[in-house]
Amino acid sequence: MKKIKFLTLALIISTLFIGCSKDDDQQPQPVNEEEVITTLTVTLVPEGGGATVILQTRDLDGDGPNEPVITTGNLAAGVSYSGSIVLLNETVDPAEDITEEVEEENLEHQFFYTSGDDLDITTSNENLDTDGNKLGTEFTLVAGAVSSGTLTFTLRHEPTKPNTGIDDAGGESDVIATFNVAVQ
């Protein structure tokens, strides 16, 4: 009986020690959000010279209550632009270039460009992944007749490749950025 009492006591005390031994770090560390994409910038450089068009959406608080800040631009009718997309994580300093990650994992990513019915533009000539399927961080955009509407850039993670477009691509949307654009 004495033995049992002693053993019990010893066990209880030892468990209390285990429990109380990790109180050293009082203040928690902030989390660096490594994956967040805060900023998407589409740069459209007219082939043969002219003003570069920048489309940008920037949401520094991510899923916080502030709305993204959107900068848009207008395209010149009949002009062909060479486009490129840059993704940034600006919650860390210096900002992290997420495009590099996307290009490293090019087999698992693809950009899609969707224009509203009224907007007369066409996209083509996307850059390719290592399997020869579309990746789309670089592309060619041709502005047609004078018109206006929305232009949406969607980055899909783990889409079905190859695909015929966004409708049968599947996957999960990592980025969706919509701009009101006019062709003048």
Binding site: I4, T8, L11, I12, T15, L16, I18, G19, K22, Q27, P28, Q29, P30, V31, N32, E33, E34, E35, I37, T38, T39, L40, T57, D59, L60, D61, G62, D63, G64, P65, N66, E67, P68, T91, D93, I98, E101, V102, E104, E105, T114, S115, G116, D117, D118, G149, T150, T152, T154, H157, E158, G170, E172, S173, D174, V175, I176, A177, T178
Partner: protein, 799 residues
């Protein structure tokens, strides 16, 4: 103690008197556990070979005894024979206590909490060992939902969370082997961390009346108990193996117990389950595999008046979450809802990929009891739990194999309680509970903490009095007080902090301002009172009426207080509120019971009125770079739930029985006058069972379960911008699935291998007709059908 001294003095003063041999010795024999009078007990006086038996009222009487010391042997078929030394002087009265070993091995208890005294005025629903074994390859939630009034909140088929009378998560308290589970139960996609194969008795109390466990069980209490070990020399065990066609998997479980007559016992138990992708009738549910590994050890020493037990269990579960349910923003949701089949269907595999959960739960407990003649039975318990929860999302780059949520919850609890028989009719239970809890959220995940780091201290005090007024009427009253203090370190997004005006309301809690975040140190106190008042009235041969009123108070949980951001597994932004107060529930439950071999019925209507009920509901749509997300905000309101549960069992012919169940619950937000979200629809089930104990105990059963469509639900639809058409389209997330009907078949037969071993072979088919259906209470119902037909073969060997 003083009484002993007096007795000794008394006896010693009498022995010196002259020899006188016409004394009588009389008294009664009772069960040491519950004071029940034992009939048919044989008492033999060793010196004279006189033998008598106790009457129907448990009394005995010897005559013609001298003033001397006698050795008396007391025996009973279901008790361990005991010897007592009795000093007779004059007409002596002496009562004996025996430990009543009921025929079944598992009925002997080391502690007083045999399931019958959880609450005496609330009707309990129980699942026994045989029924539990039928769910051996499933989860504890699967077994619980076979009870009336209990449903399950599913995340796919692998995360099954019990829902009692419409309430779940923090409102349902789960007690495992006497320990309150602290396993991050607040999350709707967090299943209880208990191995169903370690449980030999599972009961549900649909109310807060069991105050010895908690005062905050607004929904109810689930009690899982392990196998009880007899005090005799024995070695026994069982092994169970189940293979299934759906999931193409195997579940193996074994248990071995060694016990000694001197009271020592040890039990070792383990389970391994491995399943691949499950299947709906028309397709594979990709990434829904499970890999579960559990072990438990129990060692104890058990005597009539004292005992001690140590128990350790480790539960580890890895499970996949349906690939097609992992979405970006609302536009992905539009695509998923427009498709009749999941957007991702791959070939069958056992591999579990992200999104997945990997949960480990350790539970260690030491408990002991000692009976004191003078003031009752004292129980002591210390337990330690560690819950480590890893959630993996589909991620990019270096984070690919890193968990996006890594939480460790440690809990220490010390519990002391006393059960005293104040008189033959009045039992008082009282106790004190202290608890310390620490939550640590690993910052290396690279994702902001969903649940912040905190320390929590709890103190609880309770008492429950039972008063057996007469043979018919029992009254019960109880009260409990809980105090809890939370010391939290929480990072808020500066934009959220300001949008909520927290910068003006709580400026004193700011510790440090970083570039985009603010570190705060909220310190919260909650004082909660709870109580119960009830009566049980027995009438006629078979009838009983239970009445119970209980008041329960629940402090808001960390998720309700501190959520502030994207909850990826729910594809929505969730926002809590720092200023929440405790919710208070008043529940009135009535049960009419007829218990009889031929025809039994329970009818259990109830009404639960909850003030400051914490609900989460959609309030807004927020734009992020991944598109729009629905914002769900917690708020406090007044709610009311009413319903009725009915169970009936009718033996309509020899060996045949019809079992029926019906559950209905309606929930309303009384402030806004709208239905509550996520209430179980009405369901009704009927089962015909044929069982013949003379023919190898063959059992055949066919069950029909009908689940109605839920017609009472709030409208939580919202609009989403579609780039192709440039219009805003309504996303219907609130409509409920159609009614469905399932047929289930089960059969089993016992084969005696030798004197000590028995083999039971079982064949079960669930969803016999391979019906395609979606269940309103499955959070993944938008993305895929529920499980198709499953054929299970089960082998059990008792040895």
């Amino acid at each position: 103690m003083r009484n002993y001294v007096l007795l000794v003095l008394l006896f010693s003063s009498i022995t010196s008197l002259s020899q006188n041999c016409d004394n009588s010795l009389s008294g009664k024999v009772t069960d040491i556990h519950d004071g029940q009078l034992l009939t048919g007990v044989t008492l033999i006086v060793a010196e004279t070979d006189q033998a008598v038996q106790t009457n129907f009222d448990g009394t005995y009487s010897f005559s013609n005894l001298c003033n001397a010391t006698y050795y008396i042997q007391v025996s009973h078929p279901y008790c361990l024979t005991k010897g007592f030394t009795v000093k007779v002087s004059g007409d002596t009265n002496k009562s004996f206590k025996l430990e009543h070993h009921i025929e079944e091995l598992n009925q002997i208890t080391i502690e007083g909490k045999a399931y019958s005294d959880n609450s005496k005025t609330l009707h309990e629903n129980t699942i026994n060992k045989e029924e539990l074994e039928r769910f051996s390859s499933g989860s504890i939630g699967d077994a619980l939902k076979s009870l009336s009034g209990v449903s399950a909140l599913n995340t796919g088929n692998t995360v099954v969370k019990p829902l009692i009378n419409g309430l779940h998560s923090s409102r349902v308290v789960i007690i495992n082997n006497g320990v309150r589970m602290e396993d991050q139960e607040w999350g709707a996609e967090h299943a209880p961390n208990i191995d169903i194969n370690s449980v030999s008795n599972l009961s549900v109390i649909k109310g807060a009346g069991a105050l010895q466990y908690s005062g905050d069980a607004v929904g109810g209490v689930i009690i899982a108990e392990t196998l009880k070990v007899p005090v005799k020399d024995s070695l026994y065990g069982k092994s169970l193996m189940t293979t299934t066609t759906n999931g193409r998997g195997l579940s193996l479980s074994s248990q071995l117990t060694k016990s000694y007559e001197n009271g020592w016992h040890a039990t070792l138990q383990g389970t391994v389950k491995r399943f691949g992708d499950f299947e709906a009738p028309d397709y594979i549910l990709s990434n829904t595999g499970v890999y579960e590994r559990n072990i438990s050890v129990k060692v104890g020493f058990n005597r009539f008046d004292y005992g001690i037990e140590g128990y350790y269990s480790r539960f580890k579960n890895e499970l996949g979450i349906l690939s097609a349910s992992h979405l970006g923003g609302a536009r992905d949701q539009v695509r998923a809802l427009e498709s009749n089949i999941p957007l991702i269907i791959k070939d069958f595999t056992y591999t579990i990929k992200a999104p997945r959960q990997d949960v480990t739960h350790h539970l260690a407990t030491i408990k002991g009891f000692k009976r004191f003649e003078s003031f009752g039975k004292l129980n002591f318990q210390y337990d330690f739990q560690r819950n480590n929860r890893l959630e993996y999302d589909i991620r990019r780059g270096d984070d690919k194999n890193k968990a996006s949520s890594d939480l460790q919850l440690d809990t220490h609890t010390v519990l002391l309680d006393l059960e005293s028989h104040l008189t033959d009719a009045i039992i008082l239970k009282s106790g004190i509970i202290t608890k310390y809890q620490n939550n640590f959220a690993n910052p290396n995940t690279g994702v902001r903490r969903l649940i912040p780091d905190y320390d929590m201290y709890d103190l609880g005090l309770y008492f429950i009095v039972d008063y057996q007024l007469n043979d018919q009427l029992l009254l019960e009253a109880g009260g409990r007080y809980d105090y809890s203090y939370m010391d939290v370190f929480k990072f808020y997004k500066t934009s959220f902090w300001e949008s909520r005006n927290y910068d003006q309301r709580f400026p004193e809690i700011v510790v440090e301002e970083l570039s985009t975040q603010i570190l705060t140190n909220p310190q919260l106190n909650f004082s909660n009172g709870s109580g119960t008042l009830g009566a049980t009235y027995a009438f006629g041969e078979d009838y009983k009426l239970f009445f119970n009123y209980s008041i329960a108070s629940r402090a808001p949980n960390p998720s309700e207080l501190f959520s502030e951001g994207l909850h990826h597994s729910a594809s929505r932004i969730e926002l809590g509120d720092l200023s929440f107060k405790s919710e208070i529930a008043h529940k009135v439950a009535l049960t009419f019971q007829r218990k009889n071999e031929a025809f039994s019925i329970n009818i259990n209507p109830y009404i639960n009125t909850i003030s400051d009920f914490i609900v989460i509901e959609p309030t807004d749509v927020r734009w992020t770079l991944s598109g729009e997300f629905q914002v769900w905000e917690y708020r406090q309101t007044n709610a009311q739930l009413l319903g009725v549960d009915v169970d009936a069992s009718y033996a309509f012919a020899e060996n045949y029985r019809l079992k029926s169940q019906f559950s209905l619950v309606k929930g309303y937000d009384r402030t806004l006058n709208v239905p509550l979200i996520g209430m179980p629809p009405v369901n009704i089930s009927n089962e015909i069972v044929y069982q013949n104990s003379e023919f190898n105990n063959i059992r055949l059963a066919l069950q029909s379960a009908y689940h109605f469509k839920q017609n009472n639900y709030p409208n939580t639809n919202f609009e989403v911008f579609i780039p192709e058409t440039e219009i805003r389209q309504e996303l219907d997330v609130s409509s409920t699935p159609d009614a469905y009907h399932l047929l289930n078949f089960s059969s089993s037969i016992d084969i005696n291998l030798n004197q000590k071993s028995k083999l039971t072979v079982g064949l079960w088919i669930t969803n016999v007709l391979n019906t395609s259906y979606r269940n309103y209470l499955n959070r993944l119902r938008y993305y895929a059908d529920d499980l198709g037909r499953n054929i299970l073969l089960n082998l059990k060997i008792n040895y």
